[in-house]
């Protein structure tokens, strides 16, 4: 099992580009093939292949015993995944939209995340909770959230947010092999769905072999000297686009993709901030008491003397509205990012 095998296989693989959804499924299928204990449960994951194509084709290869449609009983089936994991299996359980967490949060938080600690380490809960996040397609307040901060705040779960097909595959292998509960949050807009076009970034070359990406290593997507932009998920691509625009203005932005929120790669953030002196955090979650505050706080704790300005862009503490002009207003756009960087650079 290769780790960060990008270099080794790059030559052979650059031709083969995958969507993020295909990359995710490839990792799941590999693990299911190689470990009888891995199985997957969720609503509409069998015949439908997952509403966001997160399980396409798995039913055909593995059958209904290992690719299980379940009743719309998130408490029961996520809790059952906990029980199966404690019994030594390695379930993957999908929560169709992260917005539905509220019907099952006790199993997610009080059992899945805490049982390892509460049992003093005598129990493990090796399960992966996959869930679709994000807006930009006008699905309104109960179907458009990311809730990154909500999950990252509560200790005991590792929280993964891939932004490219390459990362999606490597992080999924890591998630399934990890002995701890992992919440794997995939952004709908990045999956490469025919009916919800992705930006160009997430579709990448993906090695055929399995490989893992360690948790807690942010990816510096673009090296730059002037402003540090820390972000994740969909907004990695918006930040990269903004950085291209800014090049023309002679502003050299560094863009950091966190990739995992728990563990969080504070060192990479601090190194960058010490270099640029300015920090913009961009997030698709609600602004207050969430990801943006935490990143700014870590920068302030670790590099206060080097910091000359901080700024953040996130959902401005409103539920996510339906109508296009309203949703566009609250979700940070490429131009918003570029403008904020310009402000910071002044």
């Amino acid at each position: 099992m290769a780790t960060e095998s990008r270099d080794v296989t790059e030559a052979a693989e650059t031709e083969r580009e995958l969507t993020m959804s295909r990359a995710m499924v490839e990792a799941i299928a590999w693990e299911m093939r190689n470990d009888e204990d891995v199985f997957i449960m969720g609503e509409d994951i069998a015949d439908y292949g997952g509403i966001f194509s997160s399980t396409t084709g798995l039913l055909d290869e593995f059958g209904r015993d290992r690719v299980m449609d379940v009743p719309i009983s998130e408490t029961a089936y996520l809790g059952a995944a906990v029980g199966a994991a404690q019994a030594g299996m390695r379930p993957i359980a999908e929560l169709m939209f992260v917005d539905f967490f509220g019907v099952a949060m006790d199993q997610i938080y009080n059992n899945m995340a805490k049982n390892t600690y509460m049992s003093g380490g005598t129990m493990s809960v090796p399960m992966v909770l996959t869930t679709a996040v994000g807006g930009t397609y006008n699905d309104a307040g109960q179907h458009s959230q990311t809730l990154y901060g909500t999950f990252a705040h509560l200790p005991g779960m590792k929280v993964v947010v891939p932004s490219t097909a390459y990362d999606a595959k490597g992080l999924m292998h890591s998630a399934i092999r990890d002995d701890d509960p992992v919440v794997y949050m995939f952004h709908k807009r990045l999956m490469g769905l025919g009916w919800m076009p992705s930006p160009s970034g997430p579709k990448t070359a993906v090695p055929k072999d399995d490989y893992t990406i360690p948790f807690g290593e942010a990816d510096v997507k673009r090296v730059g000297d002037d402003v540090t932009v820390v972000t994740l998920g969909l907004h990695v691509h918006r930040a990269m686009e903004a950085a291209s625009q800014l090049e023309d203005d002679g502003i050299d932005a560094e863009v950091i993709d966190l990739r995992t929120l728990v563990p969080l790669d504070t060192d990479t953030i601090l190194d960058s901030v010490r270099k640029t002196g300015t920090l913009l955090v961009v997030d698709e979650d609600y602004q207050s008491f969430g990801v943006t505050g935490e990143i700014i706080a870590r920068a302030a704790e670790g590099a206060l003397d080097d910091l000359s300005a901080v700024e953040r862009l996130a959902i401005p503490d409103v539920p996510i509205p339906y109508a296009r002009p309203l949703e566009d207003e609250v979700i940070p756009g490429t131009d918003d990012i570029a403008a904020a960087v310009r402000d910071l650079h002044e």
Partner: protein, 343 residues
């Protein structure tokens, strides 16, 4: 007994709902062809259509008054129409306009009309507890208003529904739960997710009456619902009803239904509750001309609503910051401090 006038009203509501959704399909597909992009066109986002469910909305709501509360699920149009939700403002909401029921903030899964006490939740079964609460309020205020919660057969395995049955039962609250059984929860047939073919059996474990209406015969629905609503209004407590309906379309627009046997799709389309009710009307002496007139009136109302809605202004982006609170805090600090209002 449900008299001919009520049947005519139900028929009009059902025709309105069906035609409304047919027209919504057209409007929804604008900008989405040839390549289907869910976020394109005048109506973006998910759209769950209820063609084939009309008998349940009309048959139940025919017994309701404005002060009765209805909570709908993610597939709410036929219920909203039968409950008397303002069709123009509902349409404007679906088009995301400023004058929409929710000023463009809710969209089609989140229709709220306080004038007729209608609300929705897009989360499975989560309209049930608020319906119980509306019934509780009615009881506390000594009115004879009732509440009705609609849900799909896929929702009967969800805690929020099951807990609500008990809470309603133990306080004998005036609430009726209506399961719309269209055989499918997205791609999952009901026998894959529960052992109980008749969802109204769920009532048994709570010492509640449960009744199933085995076809989408609007008259049969109206009779069963009439009893349940009267029971509630008279202070005799809740009832659980299941109605067999049909899903004539995909789960939502864009659903290719690859999982669904051809024969099942055909079967759903053959059983048309609207035609059946037209026959019932005829057998009550209503003429074809009368029926045509009702249909025309319904179609006109739909066209009017759509025409009106499309002329309405889009909300100003700044409105995104309004309505988080009814009573907004004095301090601007709520929405992100000095950096609030991100974009």
């Amino acid at each position: 007994m449900v008299g001919v006038n009520k049947l005519k009203t139900m028929y009009e509501q059902m025709v309105t709902a069906r035609h409304y959704e047919e027209r919504l399909v057209d409007e929804y597909l604008v900008g989405k062809e040839p390549a289907f992009d869910i976020s394109a066109g005048p109506i973006p986002g998910e759209l769950h259509l209820a063609a084939g469910h009309e008998a349940s909305g009309a048959g139940v709501c025919i017994h309701l008054r404005n002060d009765d509360t209805v909570t709908g699920p993610h597939r709410p149009h036929h219920i909203a129409i039968a409950k008397g939700v303002d069709l123009k403002r509902m349409t404007a909401e679906i088009f995301g306009r400023e004058t929409g029921l929710c000023r463009g903030k809710g969209g089609h899964m989140h229709l709220f009309d306080p004038d007729v006490n209608f609300a929705c939740s897009g989360i499975i079964a989560q309209g049930c507890p608020p319906a119980v609460g509306a019934a509780l309020a009615a009881k506390k205020r000594n009115t004879d208003a009732v509440a009705v919660a609609f849900l799909g057969e896929g929702a009967i395995d969800q805690g929020g529904f099951l807990e609500s049955l008990n809470l309603a039962a133990v306080h004998d609250l005036p609430v009726v739960f209506v399961i719309e059984d269209n055989d499918w929860a997205i791609s999952m047939p009901k026998d894959r997710v529960t052992d109980v073919a008749d969802g109204s059996k769920r009532a048994w474990g709570f010492d509640l009456p449960g009744v199933r209406v085995d076809s989408d015969d609007a008259l049969a629905v109206a009779e069963v619902a009439g009893e349940a609503v009267m029971r509630a209004r008279d202070g005799n407590g809740p009832t659980l009803i299941e109605v067999q309906v049909h899903r004539r379309m995909g789960h939502f627009m864009g659903d290719a239904e690859a999982y669904r046997p051809e024969a099942d799709i055909e079967r759903a389309k053959q059983r048309d509750s609207i035609d059946r009710l037209a026959d019932d009307l005829r057998s009550h002496g209503v003429t074809d001309d009368d029926i045509d007139e009702i249909r025309e009136r319904a179609h006109e109302r739909v066209e009017d609503a759509i025409t009106w809605a499309k002329k309405q202004p889009e909300p100003d982006p700044e409105e995104a910051y309004e309505n988080v609170f009814t009573n907004p805090p004095a301090t601007a600090a709520t929405d992100g401090g000095e950096n609030g209002g991100a974009n």
